[in-house]
């Protein structure tokens, strides 16, 4: 059991998501960087699909009455533990009975994932323990954590791994790679030039539903069109020309033109964008992106 002494900005119980319910209007959701969570799970001897915590910008203070083994992956946060010992990333971390773990602010990036040996065993909802905040279900009572919450933990599947698993470094300064969207041909030259040649700033009104961008208006000829299925990474452009990159908990259908789609290999980079960051877009061929996706997934395979 883990007791929440102080909640972070938005601590959410997450696993690998609940894909397959798009036709019911439910997105797959799950950890914004599923491979980072899978890596943390591997370090503590859990199955890949075990639930952990997704921590955003400012982390929680967690108490472990009976101790436990945890692992952190993703963005580095300032972190301390009550024993005063170091808090490593990408390595198993044994906490003594009664010890607490304090996560402060992200030093760079936006999100990290905490796996606990045995996993967080909140009930499965539609096949997943991931929190879906927009409709308030899954995770811990369908909401972000609050002080006083007590998270149940289970039994681990395997031994704690001694290995330090480093995820491949991602080129954070590089453009987000996109495939031209289904409505790219409805944008005029000025609109296309704006999106592909100028930088955009991530606005504060961004969350797991979508990253709202501010920059040169990506103008287009039509403002409304028949609803279409959309997925994370889709770059929607409302009538004001300011793009929205749909996130993990975004709607499954949309009525705004989609100018581009951020490739899945770069979704983990979307997970690390925080308000004020600058992004650029660059196109990539579909077959090149598919090769990248296979390579990225192999990093997360059990070794």
């Amino acid at each position: 059991m883990i007791e929440v002494l102080r909640a972070g900005l938005c601590d959410l119980v997450m696993d690998q998501g609940r894909p397959g319910y798009g036709a019911l209007g439910v997105p797959a959701g799950g950890a914004a960087d599923p491979l980072a969570l899978a890596t943390a799970n591997r370090l503590v001897g859990n199955d890949r699909g075990a639930a952990g915590l997704e921590v955003t910008l400012t982390g929680p203070m967690l108490h472990f009455p009976a101790g436990g083994v945890v692992a952190l992956a993703g963005a580095r946060f300032s972190a301390t533990r009550s024993s005063g010992a170091a808090v490593p990333w990408n390595a198993p971390l044994a906490l003594a009975a009664g010890e607490s773990l304090m996560l402060g602010r992200a030093k760079a990036g936006c999100r990290c994932w905490l796996a606990v040996r045995g996993g967080i065993t909140v009930p499965l909802v539609m096949g997943s323990r991931s929190t879906f905040l927009p409709a308030g279900f899954g995770g811990y009572q369908g909401r972000r954590l609050q002080a006083g919450d007590r998270l149940p933990t289970g039994e681990a599947a395997a031994e704690v791994s001694g290995r330090v698993a480093e995820l491949a470094a991602r080129p954070d300064g590089m453009a987000l790679r996109v495939i031209a969207g289904p409505q790219a041909d409805q944008f005029d030259d000025a609109g296309l030039a704006a999106l592909f040649c100028t930088p955009y700033r991530v606005k504060a009104a961004s969350d797991r539903r979508g990253l709202r961008l501010q920059g040169a208006a990506a103008t287009h000829r039509r403002s409304a069109l028949p609803s279409q299925g959309v997925m994370p990474g889709a770059v929607q452009v409302p009538p004001d020309g300011q793009p929205i990159i749909l996130g993990w908990d975004g709607p499954v259908t949309g009525g705004y033109p989609v100018i581009a789609g951020v490739i899945a290999a770069d979704w983990p980079r979307l997970a690390q964008l925080q308000p004020g960051d600058t992004v650029r877009f660059a196109t990539i061929a579909v077959d090149a992106a598919q090769a990248l996706a296979v390579a990225a997934d192999s990093i997360g395979e059990w070794g």
Partner: protein, 225 residues
């Protein structure tokens, strides 16, 4: 793969092939996403693709004249899927769908916009309610929120563009008009459609074995309370 690349950048506009004009049928919208143009056959094609139960398909999302197919991470498209995507679905029989009779409390606090809509349609309240409840609707797709159905079949006289400014809060169960669609809000929240009434059934419950009350292809008849 080269063929797919060409496919994905060929655009949605009809392409001239000799004397014939053929529309693009499918294209990549992400390295894991395929958009299929389905027109009037959306439900039939969605049902047919779902029925194949191909392991590389993670999800299928039908919408308004198109279906989004999402491949599993790292999965490639099989020959079977390629063949299924290129098939003409015109001859496929559409499933009949389950018929739901849903009781609606029309107007008043339950349907704040009914009187205004009736006036715009040149009807009195009773005629509007009769017109709305006399037809059978078909669930074209779900979206916007979990369990929110886009219902086809709204009489043309009742079509109404969305509200200029969305309401901050619409009550769960609200029956609403948006353009040529009728919809039902499963949970309370912001909404830009015109409200004509409210139902007393749970449209979506993630704890149920069948979380969404209505599925694509289902039929709906509204009964005035």
């Amino acid at each position: 793969m080269t063929q797919d690349f060409d496919h994905s950048f060929s655009g949605l506009s009809p392409q001239k092939t000799g004397q014939r004009t053929t529309a693009v049928i499918w294209r990549w919208v992400s390295e894991r996403g395929v958009r299929l143009e389905t027109g009037e056959a959306t439900l039939a094609r969605y049902t047919a693709l779902a029925g194949l139960e191909l392991p590389e398909i993670e999800d299928l999302i039908p919408a308004d004249g198109n279906v989004l197919l999402i491949l599993r991470r790292g999965a490639a498209m099989s020959a079977d899927l390629r063949q299924a995507l290129s098939l003409d679905a015109a001859s496929r029989p559409e499933s009949s769908g389950t018929l739901h009779q849903i009781t609606v409390e029309y107007g008043g606090a339950a349907g704040l916009d009914l009187d205004e809509l009736a006036q715009q349609a040149g009807m009195d309240r009773a005629a509007y309610i009769h017109s709305h409840s006399a037809v059978e609707y078909r669930v074209a797709f779900l979206g916007f929120q979990p369990g929110f159905p886009y219902l086809r079949g709204l009489p043309a006289a009742l079509h109404a563009p969305r509200r200029a400014s969305p309401r901050v809060r619409v009550a769960a169960g609200s029956v609403a008009i948006g353009g040529g669609y009728c919809g039902i809000y499963p949970t309370s929240g912001p909404g830009g459609w015109h409200l004509v009434g409210r139902v007393d059934v749970s449209m979506f419950d993630p704890q149920r074995a069948a979380p969404a009350l209505l599925l694509p292809g289902d039929r709906v008849r509204f009964v005035a309370a």
